[in-house]
C-alpha cells in the first residue's frame, strides 16, 4: 500500500514539474509585459508536434528533433509578439486577453491543418526504469525532473545575473522608468514571448513520451499552467513552481479518489484556493 502512495506522489511530482514549467512561461510574459497569455498551451503543443513529426516521419535524430521542436515553439512565440501583441500593447487588459485567446484559436487550427488530428508520440529520452523502495520509476521521470530543475535554475540566473535579465525585470517593475533608461520595451516583449514559448516547447517535448500529443491537447495543459501560476501568485515565478507541484499532486490524488472526476476536483480546488487566497498561496 505504501508503494501505491509513493507512485501517486512520484507521478504528481512529474506532472507537477511540467505544470511548473508552463507556469514559469506564463510568469516570464506576465512579469515583462503584463500580458496574460492564453496561448501558452498552444506554444507547448507546437513544440511537441514539431519535434514528434520530424522525428517520426522525417526520421531526423532525436537530438536534432528536440532542438527543432524547441526552435519552432520559440519562433512561434516571437511571431505572435510581433504580429498580434505589439499592435495592441497599450490596450486595456481585456483586449490583450481576447487577443491571446484569438491567437490560441489560430495556432490550434493551423496545427490541425499542418499535422492533422491524430496523436503523435515521441520515444522516451532513455529507456528502462529504476527500482527504488519497491517502486519502478521510469527513466523519463528523471529527465523531466532534471530538465525542469535546470530550466528553473537557468532562468533564475538569467534574471538575477545578466544585464538582459535585469532589463526584463525592470520592464516589469516600472515600464516607464525602464523606457527612460533606454531599455527597448518592444525588444524585451519579443524576448519574453520567445523565451516563454521555448520553455513551453521544452515542457511539451518532455511530456509527449508520457501522454502523446495532438493539436487540441495544449489548451487544457495551458490552463493548468495558468492555474498553477495564479495558485502560487501571479508574478512570483518560484511560487508558481510550487503551485504547479501542488496542482500535479492534487490531480494524482484526485485520480485515486475518482479517476473520471480528477479534472473537476483539481479545478474546484483551484477556485477554492483563489477565493481563500486571491493573492496566491505564498504571497505575504
Amino acid at each position: 500500500m505504501e508503494s501505491f502512495w509513493l507512485i501517486l506522489a512520484i507521478k504528481g511530482v512529474m506532472i507537477g514539474s511540467i505544470y511548473a514549467l508552463i507556469s514559469l512561461g506564463f510568469n516570464v510574459i506576465y512579469r515583462t509585459t503584463g500580458v496574460l497569455n492564453f496561448a501558452q498551451g498552444e506554444f507547448l503543443m507546437i513544440g511537441s508536434l514539431a519535434a514528434a513529426s520530424v522525428h517520426g516521419k522525417g526520421g531526423v535524430g532525436m537530438g536534432t528533433a528536440l532542438l527543432l521542436g524547441v526552435g519552432a515553439a520559440g519562433l512561434t512565440g516571437a511571431l505572435v509578439d510581433r504580429l498580434a501583441i505589439r499592435p495592441v500593447r497599450h490596450s486595456p487588459p481585456v483586449v490583450l486577453v481576447i487577443v491571446t485567446i484569438g491567437v490560441s484559436l489560430v495556432l490550434r487550427a493551423a496545427a490541425s491543418l499542418i499535422w492533422g488530428t491524430d496523436p503523435y508520440h515521441l520515444p522516451p529520452m532513455s529507456e528502462g526504469h529504476v527500482t527504488a523502495g519497491g517502486v519502478q520509476i521510469e527513466a523519463q521521470s528523471f529527465w523531466i525532473l532534471g530538465v525542469a530543475v535546470a530550466c528553473m535554475a537557468g532562468l533564475a540566473l538569467f534574471f538575477q545575473r545578466t544585464a538582459l535579465g535585469r532589463a526584463m525585470r525592470a520592464c516589469a517593475e516600472n515600464p516607464e522608468a525602464a523606457g527612460l533608461c533606454g531599455i527597448d520595451r518592444g525588444a524585451m516583449s519579443l524576448l519574453a514571448f520567445g523565451l516563454s514559448a521555448v520553455l513551453a516547447g521544452i515542457s511539451g517535448i518532455l511530456l509527449t513520451p508520457l501522454l502523446s500529443m495532438s493539436y487540441d491537447r495544449g489548451t487544457m495543459l495551458g490552463l493548468k499552467g495558468f492555474a498553477s501560476a495564479v495558485l502560487g501568485g501571479l508574478g512570483h515565478p518560484v511560487a508558481g513552481v510550487a503551485g504547479g507541484l501542488i496542482l500535479g499532486m492534487l490531480e494524482q490524488f484526485g485520480a485515486w479518489f475518482s479517476s473520471a472526476h480528477k479534472e473537476i476536483l483539481a479545478l474546484s480546488v483551484v477556485i477554492v484556493l483563489l477565493l481563500c487566497r486571491p493573492q496566491g498561496i505564498f504571497a505575504r
Partner: protein, 342 residues
C-alpha cells in the same frame, strides 16, 4: 502613457436618450416580421439559421450586460447556458415534469447556481475572475459529460417540444418564438441601460472604488447583474434544448469553445453597445453557415478547422483595428450617412 492613436480603455459611451434606443427596435421590427417571407423556397435554410442566431443573441446579450456594461469578464458563460438546456431537458425529458414547471425549475436552478457561484467569485477581479469563470465553465461541462442523469457523452433523446399551445410549430413559428423572446430581452436591456441602474453599472465599470464612494452597493449590483446575465444564458439554453433541437441534446455543444464563441460575439459586435451581442451573434453564426456551405460546395473536408482559423483571425484583427466592435462603428456610419451636418 499611451499615444493618442491608442484607446486607453473601453468605457461605455454616455447613455443615449431612450427614444433613440427604441428607434432601433422600431426600425428592425418590420424586418423581423417580414423575414420568413424572404426565407422561403430556395432560401428556406435561412430559417433554422435565424433561429440559432436568435438563441446565441440572447446568450451573448447576457454577456454584454456583464462584460460591456459592468466590466466583469466571464469565460464560463457556456456553463450557465448548459445548465438551462440540461435543466429543462432532464426535468421535462427524464422526470417527465410538465414543460412550464420544467422551465421554471431550469431557470431556478440556473439562478441559484449563478447566485451561489457569483457570490463567491465576484469578489475576484480582472485576471483572477477570468480564471475562476473559466474553471467553472470547464467544471460544469465535465460534470455534464460524465453524469448518468444527463446521459453522459451520449446525450438525451426524445425531449418534448415547446409549441406555445401549437402556435410555434414548424420553422416559421419557432423563429417567431425565439426572436420574440429576444425582442423582450432587448426591450428590457434598453430600459435597464437607460435607467439609473444602467448608470450604476457604468460607474462600476469606470471605477469600483468611486462607485462605492457615491453610494452604489458595488458587490450587490455586480451579483445581480451576474445572476441576470446567467439567467439570459439559461433562457438561451432552454430555447436551444426545447425549440431548436427538441429531439436530442448532447454535451458536444457546451464546451469551452462556446464560452469563447460568446465572448467573440460580444467583442465583434461591440462590448459597450446594447446591440453588440445581437450584431455579433448574427454575424458569427451566419459566418459559420457561410463557411460550412462554401466548404461543402468546394468539397473541403477540413472546413471546421479553417473556421477556427478564421474565428481566431477575426478576434485578433478586430482587437487591433476596431476594438470598440461593429455596432458602435455601424452607428457612427449611419449617423454620418443620414444626418446633415449641423
Amino acid at each position: 502613457m499611451s499615444s493618442p492613436g491608442h484607446i486607453r480603455s473601453l468605457k461605455p459611451p454616455e447613455p443615449l436618450p431612450a427614444w433613440r434606443l427604441y428607434g432601433v427596435l422600431i426600425v428592425l421590427l418590420p424586418v423581423w416580421v417580414v423575414f420568413p417571407w424572404v426565407a422561403a423556397g430556395p432560401y428556406a435554410y435561412l430559417l433554422p439559421l435565424a433561429q440559432l442566431c436568435g438563441i446565441y443573441a440572447i446568450g451573448a446579450t447576457g454577456l454584454t450586460l456583464l462584460m460591456g456594461f459592468t466590466g466583469q469578464v466571464s469565460l464560463g458563460h457556456a456553463g450557465y447556458y448548459a445548465v438551462g438546456a440540461y435543466g429543462v431537458a432532464v426535468a421535462a425529458g427524464v422526470w417527465h415534469w410538465p414543460v412550464p414547471v420544467a422551465i421554471g425549475a431550469a431557470l431556478g436552478a440556473g439562478g441559484a447556481l449563478a447566485w451561489a457561484t457569483g457570490a463567491a467569485i465576484l469578489r475576484l477581479r480582472g485576471h483572477y475572475l477570468a480564471l475562476a469563470t473559466l474553471c467553472l465553465g470547464v467544471i460544469i461541462a465535465e460534470i455534464i459529460n460524465r453524469s448518468a442523469i444527463t446521459g453522459g457523452a451520449a446525450g438525451l433523446f426524445d425531449l418534448p417540444e415547446i409549441t406555445l399551445f401549437g402556435l410555434a410549430r414548424g420553422p416559421v413559428g419557432k423563429y417567431y418564438l425565439i426572436w420574440g423572446v429576444l425582442w423582450l430581452v432587448m426591450v428590457a436591456m434598453v430600459h435597464l441601460t437607460a435607467s439609473p441602474v444602467g448608470r450604476a453599472l457604468r460607474a462600476i465599470h469606470h471605477d469600483e472604488e468611486a462607485a462605492a464612494a457615491v453610494g452604489i452597493r458595488v458587490f450587490e449590483v455586480k451579483l445581480k447583474v451576474f445572476i441576470g446575465s446567467s439567467l439570459l444564458a439559461g433562457v438561451a439554453g432552454i430555447l436551444y434544448a426545447l425549440v431548436y433541437t427538441p429531439s436530442y441534446l448532447g454535451p458536444e455543444e457546451f464546451h469551452l469553445m462556446l464560452s469563447v464563441l460568446f465572448l467573440t460575439m460580444v467583442v465583434v459586435g461591440g462590448m459597450s453597445s446594447v446591440w453588440g451581442g445581437v450584431v455579433g451573434a448574427v454575424l458569427l453564426t451566419s459566418m459559420h453557415e457561410a463557411i460550412t456551405l462554401a466548404g461543402e460546395k468546394a468539397g473541403l473536408t477540413q472546413i471546421a478547422r479553417f473556421e477556427q482559423l478564421i474565428y481566431g483571425l477575426v478576434l485578433v484583427l478586430m482587437m487591433i483595428y476596431c476594438p470598440r466592435g461593429l455596432a458602435p462603428s455601424l452607428h457612427r456610419w449611419i449617423q454620418r450617412r443620414f444626418r446633415r451636418p449641423p
